[in-house]
């Protein structure tokens, strides 16, 4: 992990010994970057949707606190991930300029930052909201940091399949924050994100395959080839579409959600079909972009459906 960082320090002046300029000083943007703000925005959005879709209400201050805890917890997991992967990040074009491999933040400092934020987010969630939501938040952080980052990511091409569970927690946490329990609908929301993760990340892996190969990360296209990956994307998309319409089929949501999920599902299947055929080189990139939009619109439809139901 420390090779790239060591090389950054090695480039410091040899006479630097006691020179305080030899110590890298990050500004606040580097710490923000450590939290993976784009990932956090998606996590907060799905957490908010779980919170809004849940029956009952939460004081606005407490709801904002719950979202803040979800955001900080997700950011802490992202910071831990960047700490642990700083060696492979240095080898990949997409990640080489991150604060740790670029030498702007010391690894130990990043780890302390991650642990402090994780502890604070779980403690505040437990004290201010409830301990079920705090337990789920802690579970999601530990799952992402230890099961996905430390255990699976470098060992198996199924890394993102199982690791996807970590990203599927936020709607469950948002729901638990309001109701204090977990029922069928939040579990289905969990399943949707869990099944969305493979086609989303394998689309990325198809067009960033060389990067992953160079870093020695056993993503599916690197280990099993593009053809197998394209087929897996196609199969997982079917499972995703089935899970996405299940809340409507089970009568847990209304027509607004059902029609949106069906329409989006058709579009996702069309994109996955193009990827599976393998004739269009841009198809994986298009599917990757669409998959992000898909999740935003699907969860927004869930909230709209709930609000329409309340208004009626």
């Amino acid at each position: 992990m420390t090779d790239s960082v060591a090389s950054a320090y090695a480039s410091a002046p040899a006479s630097a010994g006691a020179d305080w300029r030899a110590v890298p000083v990050a500004d606040w943007r580097d710490y923000l970057e450590l939290l993976k703000p784009r990932v956090v925005s998606l996590v907060v959005f799905t957490g908010l949707c779980g919170l809004l879709a849940a029956p009952g209400s939460l004081h606005p201050t407490l709801a904002l606190t719950a979202l803040l805890c979800i955001a900080v917890g997700a950011g802490a997991a992202g910071a831990f991930n960047q700490w642990f992967e700083s060696d492979t990040d240095a080898l990949m074009r997409r990640t080489a300029s991150r604060p740790i491999p670029a030498g702007r933040i010391e690894p130990a400092e990043a780890l302390a930052f991650a642990v402090a934020l994780a502890g604070a987010s779980v403690a505040i969630m437990g004290l201010a909201i409830n301990w079920l939501a705090a337990g789920l938040l802690l579970g999601s952080i530990l799952f992402y940091t230890h099961v996905y980052t430390v255990w699976l990511k470098r060992r198996t091409p199924q890394n993102i399949v199982i690791g996807g569970a970590a990203g599927a927690f936020p709607p469950l946490i948002g729901w638990a924050a309001v109701t204090g329990d977990v029922s069928t609908l939040p579990v289905l929301l969990f399943a949707i994100i869990f099944l969305w993760t493979p086609p989303h990340f394998w689309s990325l892996a198809l067009f960033a395959c060389k990067d992953y190969e160079r870093a020695g990360i056993p993503m599916l296209p690197v280990v099993a080839g593009e053809r197998v990956t394209r087929l897996q994307i196609w199969l997982y998309t079917w499972a995703l579409v089935a899970a996405s319409v299940a809340p409507w089929a089970l009568g847990l949501t209304g027509a607004v959600y059902g029609l949106t999920a069906s329409g989006l599902g058709v579009l996702f299947l069309a994109g996955a079909w193009r990827v599976w055929r393998g004739t269009d080189l841009k198809a994986p990139k298009l599917l990757f972009g669409f998959s992000i939009l898909y999740l935003f619109v699907l969860f927004a439809a869930l909230v709209a459906d709930r609000l329409a139901g309340v208004a009626a």
Partner: protein, 52 residues
């Protein structure tokens, strides 16, 4: 060796950049601490309201 440490102008620029970064980080830390105080206050008020 960049030679920057022997160039007074470059050295001054490096000093200023270092100080600016550290100043920015300190202000950000202050903002976080103040935000936490406000957050705990608001949580307390909300919890009191919910429980009464």
């Amino acid at each position: 060796m960049s030679g920057a440490e022997h160039d007074p102008v470059a050295r001054k620029q490096a000093d200023e950049e270092f100080a600016a970064k550290r100043r920015g980080r300190n202000w950000a830390l202050l903002a976080v601490l103040v935000a936490m105080v406000v957050l705990f206050y608001l949580i307390t008020i909300a919890r009191i309201g919910v429980n009464t």
